[in-house]
Assembly symmetry: C3
Homo-oligomer: 131 residues x 3
């Protein structure tokens, strides 16, 4: 299992980690298999989405703020309940197929760490399993 | 890895693909294992939900439009940011257990391609792994 | 494959199942591997989130009610469309890495059955795969 540290720079941020995951994968020798990604945090998640136009991540961040806003009646003392909700919606665990030692992503697909309560240094757990 | 083409017929649509996945699985010989489903698109996703009453899909589509509406301040030029948001919420990657060469789904569970920006021809990637 | 019955006690409830999954895992002998969790229901899901402050689950439940409210124009006769929507948002299938026969969770992470239409007895399907 690999541990990939990711430094986030803002309260909310989508960090494209595709190249970093590919760099880890390059150390292996996997013809076909599966890449498993796991985020061990409760206010950050992992998602696959468009990597061409950065406005997609910007719009997604605005949308998630609307979907999971702060509420006066939230009780969690740390005040970051919206970040916890976003984490459960977006998901902590995702997988991608591997072929010829590369991730098989769609033409517009990238892998993102979704920071919802930064800036922080996050750790991702990554496992590559040959078929 | 199998590639399953799915033609969608509307802007937003839930297409029940359970029988198609089962047909691909029937070509294999897996006593127990896991079926991995991956959607390589950024405005379509995969989900498991009720396959008995089609009103569930209709209601779900209405609900998702409310959850991720169009906004005047979205910047993504293609105008389909709501579809990108829905994709990250519903998820591109899902798995189902296999027993006796069949998917082990709950009594009311079906597998759906969730189209958020159709109509288009979508491709799903599917892998069956024996235990 | 293991089947884990979980009795829920309320209409909406997050049940911490981490210890129960660990107890099943203790019967195995896995140095490194993956734990796969699957919920075969369409009005309950599985999620990973904070297990320290129970207010996080309370706040998350409130937030999900806002995200997926009842609507007058929903047609599904059972009246539980909001629970179906929540299920697709939170997800039926999740995985966690295993090391030294234990789940590798983050410091604040627990595994939850998310009940959206209880109280009921739910069944979870669980598989442990060595690497």
């Amino acid at each position: 299992m690999h541990t990939l540290p990711i430094k986030t720079a803002a309260r909310r941020q989508f960090v494209d980690i595709t190249a970093k995951v590919e760099r880890l994968l390059a150390q292996e020798d996997i013809t076909t298999g599966i890449c498993y990604l796991f985020c061990p945090h409760t206010t950050a998640a992992i998602t696959l989405n468009e990597n061409w136009d950065p406005d997609v991540q910007r719009d997604m961040s605005l949308a998630l703020d609307d979907i999971s806003p702060q509420r006066a009646d939230f009780k969690h003392a740390e005040g970051n309940s919206p970040a916890h909700v976003k984490t459960s919606l977006v998901g902590s665990d995702h997988f991608i197929f591997i072929k010829d030692n590369h991730l098989i992503l769609g033409r517009w697909q990238g892998v993102y760490l979704a920071e919802f309560d930064g800036p922080r240094t996050r750790q991702l757990y990554i496992k590559f399993s040959p078929d």
